[in-house]
Symmetry: C2
Subunit: 297 residues, 2 copies
């Protein structure tokens, strides 16, 4: 039995320490640095960076090599949250029980802090490759893939699809397409980046990609479930906010019980794609998959 | 005598053609693609991409190799304009005589179109290096430098400094610091990228960097001069808008005549740093420098 909570906390704290170093930049206006730091160090599960680290280690790399890539993914995730919370978008005042970035620093600074984090992320990846002496072609491929998965064809496109689907009847295929882009692509990127940093073979990469796609979808369905049944104080946001915003959810389309069954199936399949590849030392990845289903926040 | 207008128009049209191809992406929601295209293909001088191409060619590279890098810089520039025009920032309704992005597509889509263009730019650089068979380390260094010059330490930081300086008395050093970051860094990056794509030596890179820093500052001073003396219809924006927004300008600090003299000196010095390096075939760069001072828009 793996102590996954302790593992997650330890990895998250390493990521947070490195993130704090990375944004402690000279030559940056104080207000901008503070706004970037406020959201970057606002806690949270750190799921994406932990996935980078866990995948890299499962494939024989070490934390030190993988850490910059973990931080880059968290910067991209954080920028997307800052921009999503803006009045023009989801108009959220609170996230994880704290005021959102624009409520503290104003809209202009929130937009720019997001822009700066996104811009920084790509430099962090490039630097990570150069400093760890990884094959530079791998670095360019990682950046190219990140640009697609985080951009118009991936995460940003997913946010647009989500906005366009508000107040509309959305079927299951469409809902999956939205989430594949909006949240799935960055989770998949995290895992694939960890694998490539470790110099994984193409069959190893295929295995962890299938794993990531499975847990990414399961994570989203679980989020929708928690939004309905979760207790407000545990989530730190208003329960039922999807319903309030008239957003389509898996429980609304499939019912709560079928949604839960699907999560279980997805996690089982995701774990199987790891265990079917004996060269992957995947104990922590398997534990993370289980953790995602058992979590109550 | 070089026909610089024809040269600029030809290069701009090549850049625009390639940009149109690059944003013609499948798997992107139509509205997002349209919003990205609207601002990316809105015309303009295309100064930054032309500088990439002209520098690369001056150092022995060819347009085809340099074109992706030129397009990447224009994507970064365009995203910054879209975000700067937002109500929370400069709140501009028009740019180059057309409605700004958010006036056509709404604020949410404008924010996301900017995010998508910035994200795309880094992928375009990575792909440009991989496809042209340039040294991959060079590609990683270009991405790292771009991340700094376009980010919190460069362009985004400059925008923050500019916002913080509104309605305040700003001295000449401070004003230069704002512009060095806000507009200078991306112009310098354009020229340095062109040079590195051409495999320039370090003394060639030093020469074009000095050139870029000179014309970048001259360009900004000239902009301030034109804001005062330009005719409204030529600029396509309200003349005197800096004054209206209570922004510090070079003419306000130095007077119009001294500002004009300084532009002339900067351009002379910038040209000298090119001509002092005989290995640079810099006729077009010199002509671009002259053009920047003579322009009336």
């Amino acid at each position: 039995m793996i102590a996954i909570q302790a593992y997650l906390q330890q990895k998250a704290s390493h990521v947070e320490k490195r993130l704090a170093d990375m944004v402690d930049m000279p030559r940056v206006p104080d207000t901008l640095r503070e706004a970037m730091t406020y959201s970057l160090l606002a806690g949270g599960k750190r799921l994406r960076p932990v996935l980078v680290l866990a995948t890299a280690e499962a494939l024989g790399s070490d934390e030190e090599t993988a850490l910059p890539f973990a931080c880059a993914v968290e910067m991209i995730h954080t920028y997307s949250l800052i921009h999503d919370d803006l009045p023009a978008m989801d108009d959220d005042d609170y996230r994880r029980g704290r005021l959102t970035n624009h409520k503290v620093y104003g809209e202009a600074m929130a937009i720019l802090a997001g822009d700066a984090l996104l811009t920084k992320a790509f430099g962090v990846i490039a630097e990570g490759v150069l400093q760890a002496d990884l094959p530079p072609e791998t670095g360019l491929e990682l950046i190219h893939e990140g640009s697609i998965r985080a951009g118009a064809e991936g995460m940003v496109g997913g946010q647009v699809k989500d906005i366009l689907a508000e107040n509309k009847q959305v079927d299951l295929t469409h809902l999956q397409e939205i989430h594949r882009a909006k949240t799935g692509d960055l989770i998949t990127y995290s895992v694939r980046m960890g694998a490539q940093v470790a110099g994984a073979t193409s069959s190893q990469i295929a295995a962890v990609t299938a794993f990531a796609e499975g847990i990414g979808l399961a994570f989203q369905i679980q989020d929708d479930i928690l939004d309905i049944v979760g207790e407000q104080e545990k989530l730190g946001k208003t329960t039922g906010s999807d319903e309030e915003k008239n957003k389509s959810t898996y429980p609304a389309l499939l019912g709560l019980e079928t949604s839960r069954q699907w999560v279980t199936e997805l996690i089982t399949e995701a774990k199987a794609s790891i265990t079917s590849e004996p060269s992957i030392n995947g104990n922590y990845l398997l534990a993370i998959a289980d953790y995602l289903v058992s979590r109550d926040r």
